[in-house]
Symmetry: D2
Subunit: 448 residues, 4 copies
Amino acid sequence: MAELFSFPKVEFVGNKSLQAGDGFHYYNADEVVAGKKMSEWLKFSVAYWHTMDQRLVDPFGEGTATRPWDKEGEEGSMALALAKVDYMFEFLEKTGVEYFAFHDRDLAPEGNTLAETNANLDKVIDKIEQKMQETGKKLLWNTASLFTNKRFLAGGATSPFAEVFAYAAGQIKHSLDIAKRLGSESYVFWGGREGYDFLLNTDTKRELDHIAAFFKLAKDYANEIGYTGQFLIEPKPKEPTQHQYDFDAQTTIAFLKTYGLEDTFKLNLEGNHTYLAGHTYEHEVRFAREAGLLGSLDANMGDKLIGWDIDEFPNDIYEATLVMYEFLKNGGLPTGGLNFDSKPRRQSFEMDDLFYAHIAGMDIYAAGLKVAAKLIEDQVIENVLKERYASFDEGIGADFEAGKLTLKDLAEYAENKTDADINATSKSGRQEQIKQTLNNYIFSVLGA
Amino acid sequence: MAELFSFPKVEFVGNKSLQAGDGFHYYNADEVVAGKKMSEWLKFSVAYWHTMDQRLVDPFGEGTATRPWDKEGEEGSMALALAKVDYMFEFLEKTGVEYFAFHDRDLAPEGNTLAETNANLDKVIDKIEQKMQETGKKLLWNTASLFTNKRFLAGGATSPFAEVFAYAAGQIKHSLDIAKRLGSESYVFWGGREGYDFLLNTDTKRELDHIAAFFKLAKDYANEIGYTGQFLIEPKPKEPTQHQYDFDAQTTIAFLKTYGLEDTFKLNLEGNHTYLAGHTYEHEVRFAREAGLLGSLDANMGDKLIGWDIDEFPNDIYEATLVMYEFLKNGGLPTGGLNFDSKPRRQSFEMDDLFYAHIAGMDIYAAGLKVAAKLIEDQVIENVLKERYASFDEGIGADFEAGKLTLKDLAEYAENKTDADINATSKSGRQEQIKQTLNNYIFSVLGA
Amino acid sequence: MAELFSFPKVEFVGNKSLQAGDGFHYYNADEVVAGKKMSEWLKFSVAYWHTMDQRLVDPFGEGTATRPWDKEGEEGSMALALAKVDYMFEFLEKTGVEYFAFHDRDLAPEGNTLAETNANLDKVIDKIEQKMQETGKKLLWNTASLFTNKRFLAGGATSPFAEVFAYAAGQIKHSLDIAKRLGSESYVFWGGREGYDFLLNTDTKRELDHIAAFFKLAKDYANEIGYTGQFLIEPKPKEPTQHQYDFDAQTTIAFLKTYGLEDTFKLNLEGNHTYLAGHTYEHEVRFAREAGLLGSLDANMGDKLIGWDIDEFPNDIYEATLVMYEFLKNGGLPTGGLNFDSKPRRQSFEMDDLFYAHIAGMDIYAAGLKVAAKLIEDQVIENVLKERYASFDEGIGADFEAGKLTLKDLAEYAENKTDADINATSKSGRQEQIKQTLNNYIFSVLGA
Amino acid sequence: MAELFSFPKVEFVGNKSLQAGDGFHYYNADEVVAGKKMSEWLKFSVAYWHTMDQRLVDPFGEGTATRPWDKEGEEGSMALALAKVDYMFEFLEKTGVEYFAFHDRDLAPEGNTLAETNANLDKVIDKIEQKMQETGKKLLWNTASLFTNKRFLAGGATSPFAEVFAYAAGQIKHSLDIAKRLGSESYVFWGGREGYDFLLNTDTKRELDHIAAFFKLAKDYANEIGYTGQFLIEPKPKEPTQHQYDFDAQTTIAFLKTYGLEDTFKLNLEGNHTYLAGHTYEHEVRFAREAGLLGSLDANMGDKLIGWDIDEFPNDIYEATLVMYEFLKNGGLPTGGLNFDSKPRRQSFEMDDLFYAHIAGMDIYAAGLKVAAKLIEDQVIENVLKERYASFDEGIGADFEAGKLTLKDLAEYAENKTDADINATSKSGRQEQIKQTLNNYIFSVLGA
Ligand SMILES: [Co+2]
Ligand SMILES: [Co+2]
Ligand SMILES: [Co+2]
Ligand SMILES: [Co+2]
Ligand SMILES: [Co+2]
Ligand SMILES: [Co+2]
Ligand SMILES: [Co+2]
Ligand SMILES: [Co+2]
C-alpha cells in the first residue's frame, strides 16, 4: 500500500536540536527504565474520535481542520468510514503507538434502526480486525456513545424514557460483542449525559437504580459471551450535564459500593476531568490506586483557569512525573494504558500538528516516567514518608495500628503529657525543600 | 437576673413594615405548616464559636467586634468563660432559638495538659448543664476542635505523629462524655485538618486507615458509656487543607462504605461547603437524603464567586426553598436541626447585627419552609416526575425495573425501532416553565 | 397570512394560577411603573441566532430541536433563510417583543466570496426591512460574526493574517450599511476570537493596535454614511479563546482609554459573561453606569458553578431586581434594551419551550423592575448611603472633597486623635438587615 | 555581633547532590546571563511581614512557628521590634538577598494615637537606617497597612468615614517620609480593603473619587519632600473584600486613566493574585509590560485549584521561565525587583524552612532566567512571531498599519477573494510543537 502520510516514521532523536519536530526527544521505545522497556510500560493509545474524527469545531465556530481521508468519500458514507481505517493504522505505525480506542459511533454512520447501525458498524469492524491481525496493533478499549445522538438528550442508562433506555442496552450489547471479538483489554463507560441538567425534573434515585441494574446486565452479558476485559468507569463532574453522576473517583466509588459493583469496575481517569472536579490529576490517580481501582488513564490535560474540558495533549512535566510515580507504584497498568483523549488546539489545524501533538504527548510521559523511576530508585518520597510516620512503627502508634488499644487507653496515655512534650514530636513537612528536590530531579534526569 | 442585652425579645411582626429590624417577618413559631408548628420543624441552633467567640477577624485584619461579655474577665480566663454562658442563654431566650452547638474549645481555656484542659471545660459544662435544666434549651450537637491548636498542624486522627493522635483520642473521649451528660442529639466530626497540604509528604492510605479505626474506637466508647446520639461527619472539600478527606457527601459515603462505617454515621451538610466542592446545597441535601444519610444541616451560605468559606447567614429564598423541600421529603431532621454556622459580615460589628443576622436566617428558612410545603401540597414537583418517568411504570420499563429482562431482551426489543419512533417518546424537560412556576409560588406564598 | 405558530398571543394573566404557561404573570405592557409604561422601560429583544438558528447543539451532542421553519427549505438555502423571517416576525408579534437583534451570518448562507455572501444577505435584509415597515418592530442592534467561519480561527480584527483582516473589514462595512438601512439603535462588536489561545504565539500589542485602528476605521465609515447608532463592545473573559481582549467592563474601558475610543463606544453587558469574569451582573452594570458607558444589556444568566457560557433565560429575582435598580438609576437605556441572548436548555426542545422561555425572561425582568421601582420610591438604598457617607458632607470630609486640603492638613487633623475616638465614628454596614429588607420588598411587591 | 542563626551562609553548590538543602543549585550570583550578572538582574527582596512577622496562622488555627527573636521581648514590645531588625539583616546576609520590603505596621507596635505610633516606628527606622548603611542592603519598597487595624474595616482611602480617611492620609504621609529617608526604590499601595463587601451599602463612585484624590495628594507630598521613588499599585481581585477596586492590571489601568494618574503609577504584580483574577502570571506581566507599566514583581505563586491567596514560595519552572521572558523583554526592572511576598507552608514551621523556602524561590527564578535568556538568544519566540505576522510587514497589511487605508479600501480588496484563497494564507499556531520546544529548552538548559 502506498504511503498515506508524507510525515516520516517518528524516531528517537534526543536533544540534538532543541526544536520540537518529527522525532522523539525522550521517548525511546527500547530504552530500559525501572527494569522494563519504555514501550512495555507506556501502552500509548490513539483516540479514534479525536485523531480521526475531530475537525477542531468549538461551540462558536466550525472545524478548522480538513484531513487527507476526507477526500475518500462523502461525509457520513461507508466509503469514508472504511478508508479512515487505513489512515488510522498508518498513523499508529508511523508514531509507533501500539494501541487505539474508539466509541462505536466514531467508526461508522448510523442507520435508521439499531439493527442497521450495527450492520454498518460491523463492516468497519471486519476491516479493523483484519488490520489488527496484519499489524499487531491492539485495542486498548472500546466504548459506546450514549450521548451524541439526540435520543440521549436525558441520558442513556439513566434516561427517563424506557424506549431510549432499551436502545442504550441494545447498543451496549453490540459494543460488548465487538470488545470480545477484538480482544479489547478494557471496556469503558463514560456517562456523559448520565446525570442531570435540572435537579427538579430529575428522579435522581430512580435513575441511579436504573444505571446500576444496567451495569449488572452488561456484566452478565459479558460473562455470557466470555468477554473478560476490565470494565471501567470514566468519571467527569459536569459537561455536558450540570452534574454527572460519576463526578470524580470517590463519587464513583461510593456508587460502586452502594450497588455492589466494586468488583466489576475499575476507573479510567482523565486529566482534564480531574481539574473540573477540583482535583489534581495525581490526586485522583493516587486515590484510585490506593483503592485498588486504578484501571487506565486518559492522558490529557486541561487548563486550571478554564472551566470546560479542553482535552489538550499533555505537556506538563510536573503532572507527568507525579502521575508516572503513582503508575510505577501501581506496577504499571496491566489492563490499561495511556490513551490520548486529546486533540490539537483549534489553530493547530494541519495534519502535521496531529503528529507533533502525539510526539509531544509521548515525550512528556516518557520524560515523566524517567524522573519518577529515578525518584523511586533513590527512594526520595519513600524516605520522606518513612521518617514522617515513624512514630506509628513503634510504641503507642504501633499498638494502635495493631488494634490493641481502646479510646480510653489512648486518652490515658495522653492526658498528662505537656503541650511542650507533644509539640516536640511534630516534624516539619518540608514542602518547599521537597518541591525543590523534585525540580532538581526533573532538570537533572532530563538534561542528562 | 438583670437583662444582659437591651435588644428586645424577638416577636413575629409580619410585613407591616418592610424594613427588617427586631421582629420576624416570616418565622411564626406556633404557625402550623405541613401539619406541624414551625418551631417543631425548624430546630434552629446557635453556634457558640461564631456567636459567642467570633470577633470578625479575617486573615488580613484584627477583629472588629467587641461583645458585652468581654468586660467580664480577661481574655482566656475562666471568669470570662463562665460569664459567656449567661449571655448565650439569654441570646437563645431572646431569639427564641431552642438549640445550641459547640466545640469543646469554644467554651473554656486550655491548660497545660489535657487533664487540666478537661478540668477547665468541666466547670463550664457544669454551668451549662444547670442553665439547660433551668431554661429547657437543648444541645443540638457538640464536637471537638482537632484543628485550632498547633499540635494539630498535620491533623488529629490523621496526624503522622502518634503523640498527637493519642491526644486527639483523649480529647474525643472527653467530648463524648460531655455529649452523654448534656444529652446532645448528635455528635459531629468536622475533619478540618484531616486531609493533606502536600500529596508528596502524605501517606494517604495510612492516614485513612487511622481515622477509620479512630472512628470505630469512638463509637465503641460511645456504646460503652451509653451515648446514643447520632454520629455525624461534616464534609468540606478544602480549607484549611489543600484537600480534606471528607471532600463532599459522596466522598464521605465512599469512605464510610470502604471502612464499614455506613451504619455509624450520617452527614451534617453545610451550605457554604457545598459550593466549595462544586455543588449546590440542594444537591448535597438531595443525595444525602436519598442515601438515608441526611443527619443535620449547618444552615449558612457562601458566595459562589468567592473561593473560601465565608459562613454567611442564609438569605437566599431559592436555596432555602429547595433545601426545605428535601427536608420535608425527609420528614424533617429527627436527630438534627438547622445550626447557624454563620457569622455577621466583618462590617456588621455591632451586637445588634448578631440579632439581626439570626432573625434574617430564621426568617428565610421559615419562608422556604412555607413555599416548600405549598409546592408539596400542590404536588408540583411530584407531578413533573410522575409524568416524566411514566414509561417505567408499565411495559418494557416496568419489566426492567422488576428485574425480568436481560441485556439481550432489551436489545431485541429496541433493535428494529426507528429513530423517529424512539424520539417521539422523549418529553421536554420544561426547565424554563418549572423555574417560572417556582418563582410564582415563592412570590405568591410569601406575599400573601 | 395564515398563523405559523399555534401558540396563542401571550397576554397578561397575573397569578390567577401559579403554574407558568402561556401568559405573563408580571409583565403587563401598559402598567405604569416609575412613571412610565413597562413596555417603554423594557425594550426586550429576541436574538435571531438563538431563537431562530439554535438547534440546542452542545459540544457532546447534536441538536435536539427541530423548528417549524425547517420544512421550508434545505439547510443553508435562501428559501429557508427567507421563510425564517416570517416566523421571526410572528414570534415577535405573539410574544409582544418589539425588538430583535442579529449577526449577519444568522440571516443568510455564505457564498464563495464576500460579494456573493453580501448579495445573499441583502435579499433577506430586503424582506426584513419590509416586515419592519409593516409591523413597526425595530432592530435593537446588529453585529457581524467574525468568529464562526474557520477563516477567523485566530480572530478577525486581530487576525495575524492580513487577508483575513481585510475580509473582516469588508464584512463590517457591509454590516454597518445594514445598520444604517434598518435604523439599528446600536451596533455591537463581540470579539469572540479577538484574544489569544496561546500567549507565546501571539503578539498581543500588535493585535491590540490593529483592532483599535480597525474600530476607528469602522467609526469613520459610520460617520461617512451617516449611521448614528451607538457603537457597543460586549465584554467576555474567555471562551472560545483562552483570553479575550475584552475580558470585562474595566478591561474594555482600559482599552478604550488607551486608544482614545472612550467617546466612540459604550458597553453591552451580558449576565453570563460577568460570572465567567468573576463578577456579579449587578457589579458590571453598576460600574459601567458610573463610567457613563452603560449601553445595552444581554439579558441572560449563567450558573456560577459552571465554567462556560450557558446563556440561560433569566429567572433569578435577586439579579433582575439589582440590575433593574441600576437600570432605573441610569434612566433606562435610551439606545439599548434587554436582548435575550438566551436559549432554552437542551432538554427543552419543543417549540412551546421557546415561548415559555421568553415569557419567563420577560416576567422576571418585569418583576425586577417593579421591586426596584419600589425600592427607589422608598429610598431604601439611598438612605443607607446618605447616612453612611454623612461625614463627607461636612467638616473635614467636605473640605477634602472640595479640594481644600493637602496630605499634611489631613495628617495634622488626625495625628492626635485617639483610636477610641476614631473607631466611634465607624458605623455598621448592616448587610444582614439590608438583605432581609430586600427580601421583604421582593415578596411583598410581587405577592401583592 | 554573634551569629544569630546557625544556618550557614548560602552558597552556590550546583547539582552535585539533587537533594535540596542549604545551597543554591541554580542561583549563582556572579554568573553572567544575558550580559549581566544574575545578582544584577535578580533584585530579590525579603518581605518583612512574612519572614519576620508571620507565625503561619490560618483562619482555622493558631501559628505553628516560633522564631528565635520571639525570646527578645514581649509580643508587641519595642524591645522585640528592635531585636527583629538584627535578625532581618543577618537573614539578608546569609541568603545573599540584597533588598527588603515592609509595611509600616510590620516594624513597630501601634500607640494610642498616630503620633505615638509614628514615634514607635521612627525608633525602628533609625536602627534600620543604620543597618542599611553598615551592610549596604537596600529597601526595594515600603508601604502602609491600611487594612489590619479595625479602623480600616471599610477601607482607608475609600472609607466612608472621614476620620478614618484622614488617619489614612496621615499614615501615608509618614510612610512617604520613611521612603524618602531610606531611599526606597518604589512605594507600594495595596488596597486590601479598598473595595466593597456589599454593593448595596457602597457608593462606589464616591469612593473611587476619594481614592484618586488621595493618590494625588500623596504624589504632591512626595514631590514636596523630593521623594522620587516609583509609585506602584498592587492589584488583587478580592480577599479580604468581595471586590477590590484594583481587581487586576487592566482594571487598575482603567482607573489610572480615568483619573489622570497613568504617569504617576506603575504596577506591582503578584503571582497568586493573578490566578485569583482568572489570569496567568505571565499574562499580567506581559500586558503590564506592553502598557509601559511593569514596575515590580511580588514573586510568589498560588494554587489554581485553591480560591484564596496562599502566598507560596515560587517553584514552577514554567511560570518562572515565562515571567523571566517578559522581564528580560522589559530590560529587567530598573526601579523594581522580585519581592518574596511568600511564606512557608503552615507545616514547614521550622526556622530552617524559612531558609529553604528562600533558597528554593531564588533558585527557580535563577533557573527561569537562564532558560528565558537562552530562548531569547536563539530567538525562539521572536521567530514564531516574525513568521506568523509576516503578512502585516508588506502589501495590504503594511498599508493598513501605515494608516493608508479606509474600511472601504479594505472591503474592496477582500470582496472578490475566494474562501479558498483566503484560507490558504492562514498558518498553524503550532502550540503543541512550541510547548514541546519549551520543555526541551528547560530540560536542556537546566540539566547541563
Ligand atoms: Co476521556
Ligand atoms: Co475530556
Ligand atoms: Co459547618
Ligand atoms: Co463554613
Ligand atoms: Co451576548
Ligand atoms: Co453568552
Ligand atoms: Co503581594
Ligand atoms: Co498574596
